[in-house]
């Protein structure tokens, strides 16, 4: 008898991902879909797509989805969740979307303790617009707008969102993970699960920051970008739990 051990989650449409080879977005989409399936919440989950490479998330997630203006998903999520508190609402946002143009919205949604789950995809550049500097770009990193590398005196420093949000009283769960190895993928999945679980249990705002490879923006092979996450990126953006308000209670 055949036993299926790996299949498409119901929360993903039968639509091949059109992300670049080696891109972290497709891995993260899959993990989120698996978690939605495992909680059995597909019929009551609403996702918010960012403006960025993942704008097409609405083509992939087999659930109710909405796209909105660049950086505003936390405000849109607030509008949806406050009117439909019984639904599960998540935003999926890149580092341009969340950490640059949408900084005000994420900080205030966090500070209000909105009962939502935010998946923050840090790939240290603007993938969609052709690899420009992001607030998360590392010092000395080449991008199409930092041709001699990011210089602090000109461009400032990489912005650490997980650390920043963990200082906000309204947040419940803040963690940074990665998707460059089997182990990290499993940790990310557990983090996503927890973010959803906290929302289901009305425990408030969660943010999972995920270091995500962007081989095209980084001008690296997919293989080298997996290594770069370990050897370079996670030195500046250390993985780990930054806040867990209900750790004791668990």
């Amino acid at each position: 008898m055949k036993k299926i051990v790996f299949k498409r989650p119901e929360s993903l449409k039968k639509e091949p991902f059109r992300y670049c080879p080696g891109c972290g977005h497709s891995l993260i989409h899959r993990l989120i879909a698996e978690c939605i399936d495992s909680f059995g919440i597909r019929g009551k989950t609403i996702g918010i797509a960012p403006v960025g490479c993942a704008v097409f998330a609405y083509d992939y997630f087999n659930i109710d989805m909405i796209e909105c203006a660049h950086g505003r998903p936390p405000a849109v999520a607030t509008g949806i969740k406050r009117t439909r508190p019984d639904k599960i609402v998540f935003s999926y946002q890149g580092d341009g979307d969340l950490a640059a143009i949408g900084t005000a919205e994420i900080i205030h949604a966090a500070n209000r303790g909105e009962n939502i789950s935010v998946f923050f995809i840090n790939n240290a550049n603007y993938g969609m617009t052709g690899g420009q500097m992001a607030p998360t770009t590392l010092l000395e990193q080449y991008t199409s707008t930092t041709r001699s590398g990011r210089k602090p005196e000109i461009h400032g420093y990489p912005l650490r969102i997980a650390e920043l949000l963990s200082t906000i009283e309204g947040t419940s769960f803040v963690i940074r993970t990665a998707v460059n190895s089997h182990k990290n993928l499993m940790n990310t999945k557990r983090a996503i699960e927890k973010a959803f679980r906290y929302q289901i249990e009305d425990r408030g705002f969660s943010l999972v920051e995920i270091l995500s490879q962007c081989p095209v923006g980084w001008k690296m092979s997919p293989e080298d970008s997996l290594k770069w996450v370990d050897e370079t990126m996670s030195k500046i953006f250390p993985l780990g739990v930054y806040k867990d308000k209900f750790k004791e209670a668990d």
Binding site: A75, V76, G79, R82
Partner: protein, 357 residues
């Protein structure tokens, strides 16, 4: 017997919204519209609705975007600089065909300007202040009664056409108190909201979006929107005429300028001067035909606005050269006075007949 009540304009809007079934409001404080969020901050709680004081006008209107997508009647309000910040989202709301009501209690501009009454956001409201080929319905109330009635109508029209609708008021209308009839709300028959995102249990997933990358897809979407706007133009024009038939000079004004001009016109009529008033209540759709039909070479039109001449352009387009169109306006939060309008009208009428006051 119906009783009249006394209320401030801004509060009348807020209460009318609640009566019309609005259950979500988000806004950011700005004078001269603060009574709206202040009133709704407690009133929404009473009716089990949601009130959020957002971190900015950007956030406020995007919260409305979410609430509307989730199927609830939603509103935001602001004044000129705040409305400028909302423009990107208004374009998104139009593109995503999400209904909502946006109130602009205009103040003087440009920039921070001042907090007096102004009508300088006409172009922004009517010509599409955001990007892309879109229109929104714009109502220009001139009394507290109309603030009440048009706010209620705005929610119905927003749902009927799946479009943002704007109430374009100003500092005077929002701040003034006058008695009015708080008519009861009767919900008309409206199409089912079968497009909302509230979880796909028992149906296929819904997607609300504004991005159309496929060849020709966006043009198709635009054609659909243009068809809707044409439909709105055919069905939703509201305007009002006073003493038009034998008038030699017709004042054209909207909102508070029309209220002031009407007192001038009534006074001059008593003196036998053949002057009338035409007042667009909808600024989009603009009453083009109505204006064209009352124009001819023996009539002259005087557009009176509290700006440097914005609706003036639409009046000229509508009249299309059939009559002479003149303009009188004040800017920077200066309110036109009835005396100024009298004087202007008399200076124009004097050329033809010799009336003494």
């Amino acid at each position: 017997m119906k009783t009249r009540i006394l209320m401030k304009g801004n509060e009348a809007i807020a209460e009318a919204a609640v009566r019309a079934g609005c259950r979500f409001y988000a806004g950011y404080p700005i004078t001269p519209q603060n009574e709206i969020p202040e009133y709704l901050s407690w009133r929404m709680l009473e009716v089990g609705g949601v009130f959020i004081q957002a971190e900015s006008e950007l956030a406020a209107i995007n919260m409305v975007y979410g609430a509307s997508a989730a199927g609830i009647r939603a509103m935001t309000s602001s004044s000129s600089p705040g409305i400028s910040l909302k423009q990107e989202a208004i374009s998104f709301l139009a593109g995503a065909e999400l209904p909502c009501v946006i109130v602009n209690m205009q103040r003087g501009g440009p920039g921070l300007g001042n907090i007096s009454a102004s009508q300088a956001d006409y172009f922004q409201a009517v010509k599409g202040g955001g990007h892309g080929d879109y229109k929104i319905i714009v109502y220009a109330p001139y009394s507290v009664q109309e603030l009440w009635d048009l706010t209620i109508l705005a929610f119905d029209k927003a749902d009927e056409y799946r479009t943002p609708v704007m109430i374009l008021g100003d500092a005077i209308i929002g701040q003034m108190m006058e008695p009015f009839y708080p008519t009861d709300y009767k919900k008309p028959e409206l199409p089912d909201k079968d497009w909302i995102i509230d979880g796909c249990e028992g149906r296929l997933p819904h997607v609300i979006k504004t991005l159309y990358m496929g060849d020709g897809e966006l043009e198709m979407m635009n054609n659909k929107l243009q068809k809707k706007y044409k439909n709105i133009k055919n069905k939703e024009v509201i305007s009002e005429g006073h003493f038009i038939d034998d008038a030699e000079l017709i004042v054209v004004a909207f909102g508070i300028a029309a209220r002031i001009a009407l007192s001038s016109v009534i006074k001059l009529r008593r003196k036998g001067i053949k002057v009338g008033l035409f007042r667009p209540v909808t600024l989009f759709p603009f009453p083009e035909n109505e204006l064209f039909l009352i124009s001819d070479e023996n009539k002259r039109f005087l557009v009176v606005e509290m700006n440097a001449g914005q609706m003036l352009e639409d009046v000229k387009l509508a009249i299309n050269g059939r009559s002479e169109v003149l303009f009188y306006g004040r800017t920077g939060g200066m309110v036109v006075s009835p005396e100024e309008i009298d004087k202007k009208i008399l200076s124009l009428i004097d050329l033809k007949c010799n009336v003494k006051m």
